[in-house]
């Protein structure tokens, strides 16, 4: 039976303390845009629908849920399972939040 090889390069006896063998310091690093930000969301009791949301220390009521959709992806790696809501807030702002179903946390993200 095949077994996968060892997962990480280990430090060999003659490697320096700079890091595992074969790793060079990365010269360029990409920073992804539109990274999700944690946000506090209160939901209607017994449902997952947002009732209010706290942005910049200000709690706002959700006026309307415009749209909702779910993403399930990358089950072969680290599963991604998100429930997105497009919301209209009481001041008229249009925001998109999602609930991470694997961690049970809410995030704000421009979809």
């Amino acid at each position: 039976m095949t077994e996968p090889g060892p997962k990480r390069a280990v430090a060999l006896p003659w490697t320096t303390s700079a890091g595992p063998a074969g790793r060079l310091p990365a010269a360029g690093k990409l920073r992804s845009l539109n990274r999700p930000r944690p946000v506090r969301v209160a939901t209607t009791r017994g449902t997952e629908v947002p009732k209010s949301i706290e942005i910049n220390d200000r709690r706002q009521r959700v006026e309307d849920v415009v749209e909702r959709w779910r993403i399930d992806d990358e089950w072969w790696r680290e599963p991604v399972s998100r429930l997105y809501f497009s919301l209209v807030l009481e001041d008229g702002a249009y925001v998109t939040v999602y609930r991470d179903l694997t961690q049970n946390r809410w995030y704000l993200q421009h979809a």
């Binding site: 996968p4 090889g5 060892p6 990480r8 074969g22 990365a26 360029g28 990409l30 992804s32 993200q109």
Partner: protein, 405 residues
């Protein structure tokens, strides 16, 4: 002198994981076809052979552990061994086989004593690096690289894993060796066996014209090797100082389109490196750290030197198509390690025709401002937006920021 670590990669894998110490072990070959590249003695005894399909190997040896290729890890270990050998002798030359290295020992008698003492000193030095490697190394000391390699091959089964052959003994030593050691084509070796010529002493009895008539130019060349008349000296390698650029992905990149886009970026950045000074590129190495550990790399020499990013990109894409990374990529790295003559001649449609298609090239004033700001703030100040996976379902995977070069 030839320093040879048989099954170099397998020994490294055993050093990496103690659990593999007693298991039959094989190394998977790079490339899309899942084949065996090397097998340990236990696996070989069960019938596993290089070139065999992995499924076939497992059928023959159900306990077989097949390690994924990890060229970065293996190369970095070899580099450290080479560095230790360069401390011992200034003339070190690696061969095309990863675990075989030639060390020039001419003129070192005053420093290290006679050949046997040299070997003992070198083995001590290797033992300080890694006792396991010192245990599995085979050392051959003889005039020329061929003689030293044959001696190292014989040393594999010798008591102290070292064979020392003097100038006077070389001819008689070689005649006892099998014809398989000759650096000639496989078809010639096969034909020699079919003709009943098993050892070099049998070959040495055949006149050169007869060998030339039978094997062409290879025949007399093989005879010269067999008689110990041809001595190929060890040549010191020029230490490589490659131009290296790399890119860390925010999330492991599994899609080939994303790798292609990153490749274009890296080529562009590498070609703009000031150390290139207009030289064209001949040797390229593309490597990656893979998700979950391990690495992948391809090394290629271009047929013609080029500094055209489109040509280099197309060339590397064709190589990636033949040998794709086995898993998603965390870091992609490009090394330009061999250069050709300067080729700054603009294309027939002007310099713009040669530019990379994707990367925004800032105006000189903006580039200069970016450099000044970086110096002043000691961090990146200006970025550009890159399209990574515009169609991704996950919004944070679609675009990324990269420091403006």
């Amino acid at each position: 002198m030839c320093i040879w670590w048989p099954d170099f990669e397998l020994q490294l894998e055993r050093m990496r994981s103690e659990a593999l110490a007693e298991r039959p072990l094989a190394l998977a070959a790079t490339g899309n076809a899942r084949r065996i590249e090397a097998a340990c003695a236990t696996a070989a005894a069960a019938g596993v052979a290089p070139g065999m399909m992995i499924s076939q190997a497992i059928a023959l040896c159900p306990d077989l552990v097949v390690c994924d290729p990890d060229p970065e890890f293996h190369d970095s270990a070899l580099e450290r061994l080479l560095a230790a050998l360069r401390d011992w002798s200034p003339v070190v030359e690696r061969s095309e086989v990863r675990g075989k290295v030639f060390v020039g020992a001419d003129g070192l008698e005053r420093l290290y004593g006679p050949p046997r003492q040299q070997i003992a000193g070198l083995l001590d030095r290797l033992a300080r690096l890694s006792s396991r490697f010192a245990l599995h190394v085979a050392v051959g000391h003889a005039p020329g690289k061929f003689g030293a390699w044959v001696a190292a091959r014989a040393a594999r089964t010798a008591a102290n894993r070292a064979v020392c052959v003097t100038d006077n003994e070389l001819g008689s030593f070689l005649t006892r060796q099998p014809v398989d050691v000759l650096p000639v084509s496989e078809s010639m070796i096969r034909r020699l066996h079919r003709l009943g010529i098993e050892r070099l002493e049998h070959l040495a009895q055949i006149p050169a014209p007869a060998l030339a008539a039978q094997f062409g130019a290879e025949g007399p060349r093989a005879l010269a090797w067999a008689l110990g008349e041809k001595i190929d000296p060890v040549r010191a390698e020029c230490p490589l100082r490659p131009i290296t650029v790399s890119l860390d992905f925010p999330a492991p990149a599994g899609r080939i389109e994303m790798l292609h886009a990153a490749l274009d970026l890296l080529i562009d950045r590498a070609l703009r490196h000031p150390r290139r000074r207009g030289k064209s590129v001949r040797g390229i190495r593309l490597s990656a750290d893979l998700e979950g550990g391990g690495s992948w790399s391809i090394r290629a020499i271009t047929r013609e030197p080029s500094s055209n990013p489109r040509q280099l990109g197309a060339f590397l894409r064709s190589r990636i198509a033949l040998d794709r990374p086995q898993r998603a990529v965390e870091t992609l790295r490009l090394d330009l390690f061999r250069f050709g003559p300067a080729s700054e001649q603009p294309g027939i449609f002007g310099a713009r025709a040669c530019k990379g298609p994707r990367l925004f090239e800032p105006a000189p004033a903006i580039a200069s401002a970016a450099r000044l700001l970086r110096l002043r703030l000691n961090c990146a100040a200006l970025y550009q937006v890159l399209e990574l996976e515009p169609g991704s379902r996950l919004p944070e995977r679609r675009y990324a920021l990269m420091e403006l070069a």
